[in-house]
């Protein structure tokens, strides 16, 4: 097993006298001991201060932490989550500082990603009597992830609970935050929510608690933006379960433990997951046209389509030239839109890079079920429209109106085709298209 020394670069651990660049220690060194959240709950996680990127998609400027916890009841001990495999040693040391393996009655995994399940096989080996609890959706993943057939486990759902005598763990089914298997575990008597990746962030600070660590607001929002934002509808569903809880503390799987005013974090998720433009567009459907054009032909098409969709009642259309904007705000717009139209010429047998840049940046938002369509001018082969249609379907958008391609400069008849194209899309968007029968036999 590859072992990582968590203390190697951590700013808040003991520093050598001649290392003037580092700040003095502002919290007691963690040693390799567990840290108490209460007399029954301990943190037994690991710090990873030297990590600089996580899951490829996230930057981690001061590293991260893998939080795991131990809960003690009158009739045994539960371990909530583990750590990344390379940090197993310190995890087991901290675990051993508060419990004996023979006391462990339950192991709960809120999420099977390797940063939390890495030490599970070894933990199960050391505490073979312990029963493993995972979510319903985690069952098939467990085997694929741990390459181990012999694991026994119990799948749980919202409403299920397990008893440690005078302490009770109950489960909240919170799928897709950010994997299908994710769940939260609620320690009823202490009102502590073990939330897994939810409310977590990549922020490494040995002071552990939100009332004593440095400023982690950016990390919290950045984590939400990259990990939770693609699953906004699931965030809202989870908040319905979490908001009624009388939270005393949120204990996430990464970053600070949120014991000071814990309710402000679900409230912040509520804000971050609420649509921004809703009140302004009311019941109208929003449609965005993004186009780019070298000689103006695709731009002429865009204008004709824009004029057409704008004529239809119930559609609020806007049009943007991709050359004049940045990707990030366009992504924000698309997140709230009901339909997007892409206009692209074919250049060297492909759509152009600004189009692909936009379309490769949509993984952070939910695109499922949005209406989409593509148009563009071309010279001789015109591949771009079909390629972009495929990409939009790949993003799980609906593409019911066949893409419109026009050879070189649009004639007035061809602009009329743009008008028809626009109306067809607007009808799809407003649900005003007539019922159709298609023959495919």
């Amino acid at each position: 097993m590859h072992t990582v020394r968590e203390s190697s670069l951590c700013h808040f651990r003991a520093v050598t006298v001649n290392d003037a660049a580092l700040q003095p220690v502002t919290a007691p060194g963690l040693q390799d001991k567990a840290v108490a959240l209460s007399d029954r709950v301990h943190w037994i996680g690991a710090l990873d201060p030297t990590l600089r990127s996580f899951d490829i998609i996230l930057k981690t400027a001061n590293g991260t932490s893998y939080n795991a916890y131990v809960v003690r009841g009158s009739e045994g001990v539960a371990v909530i989550d583990t750590v990344k495999e390379g940090f197993s040693d310190v995890f087991f040391q901290r675990l051993e500082s508060v419990t004996d393996y023979s006391e462990i009655k339950y192991i709960v995994l809120n999420h099977l990603e390797p940063d939390h399940s890495g030490a599970l096989p070894e933990l199960m080996r050391r505490a073979p009597q312990a029963r493993l609890f995972i979510s319903q959706r985690a069952q098939t993943m467990l085997k694929a992830l741990l390459k181990h057939d012999a694991f026994e486990f119990t799948p749980v759902m919202t409403g299920d609970s397990i008893s440690l005598g005078d302490r009770t763990l109950s489960f909240l089914h919170t799928p897709y935050l950010h994997w299908p298997d994710t769940q939260c575990t609620w320690l009823v008597e202490e009102r502590v929510l073990f939330s897994g990746d939810v409310f977590g962030c990549h922020y490494c600070d040995a002071r552990l608690f939100n009332d004593s660590v440095g400023d982690f607001r950016f990390s919290f929002e950045y984590y939400y933006a990259h990990i939770m934002r693609p699953f906004r509808e699931f965030v809202v569903q989870a908040l319905e379960l979490i908001e009624p809880l009388d939270l005393h503390c949120i204990a996430p799987a990464h970053g600070p433990i949120l014991r000071d005013r814990p309710k402000q974090y679900p409230a912040h998720y509520r804000r971050l997951s609420s649509p921004m433009l809703h009140s302004e567009t009311g019941h109208e459907k929003t449609l965005l046209i993004f186009y780019i054009s070298a000689y103006g032909s695709t731009a002429r098409m865009a204008e004709a389509v824009y004029a057409a969709v704008s004529e239809v009642e119930g559609v609020r259309a806007s049009m943007y030239d991709l050359e004049g904007g940045e990707v990030a705000p366009f992504v924000d717009l698309i997140e709230e839109a009901d339909a997007i139209l892409i206009g692209t010429p074919t250049i060297n047998g492909d759509a152009v890079k600004p189009v692909w840049d936009l379309l490769s940046s949509l993984a952070v938002i939910p695109t499922r079920g949005k209406l989409a369509a593509v148009f563009g001018s071309y010279g001789w082969s015109g591949e771009a429209v079909r390629m972009v249609e495929e990409r939009l379907r790949g993003l799980k958008m609906r593409v019911p109106v066949e893409g419109l391609r026009i050879k070189l400069i649009p004639t007035s008849e061809e602009l009329a085709a743009c008008d028809k194209f626009g109306h067809a899309i607007a009808r799809e968007l407003t649900g005003m298209q007539e019922d159709r029968i298609v023959e495919m036999a």
Binding site: R137, K396, R398, R436, E439, A441
Partner: protein, 94 residues
């Protein structure tokens, strides 16, 4: 060749197809709101509600049954990437 009528309720489109076709082969062509992830009966993304003609689809395999259960499928739900059309059906995204 025997034909069947498949209606996608969410978009009001009815398609006439040869018996034996899979729903996945049609819904994308007509732009219905059914969507796909793995396309091989593993992820549960393509779950659909069969409003009419429940018995006009091929029997679910053991694997499909399992995926439906794990995804907590409601009554009369099937995976659109798996179910083969045997007769007239009316469906919509679950």
């Amino acid at each position: 060749m025997a034909k069947a009528k498949v209606t996608f309720l969410d978009i009001g489109v009815t398609v006439m197809v040869p018996v034996g076709t899979r729903v996945i082969e049609l819904s994308e062509k007509v732009g219905a709101g059914l969507i796909y992830g793995c396309r091989e009966g593993d992820c549960g993304t393509c779950m659909m509600k069969v409003e009419e003609g429940w018995n006009n689809l091929s029997e679910p395999s053991v694997v499909e049954e399992k995926v439906l259960r794990e995804n907590m499928a409601g009554k009369h739900c099937r995976l659109a990437c798996q179910a083969q059309i045997l007769g007239d059906i009316v469906v919509r995204p679950a």
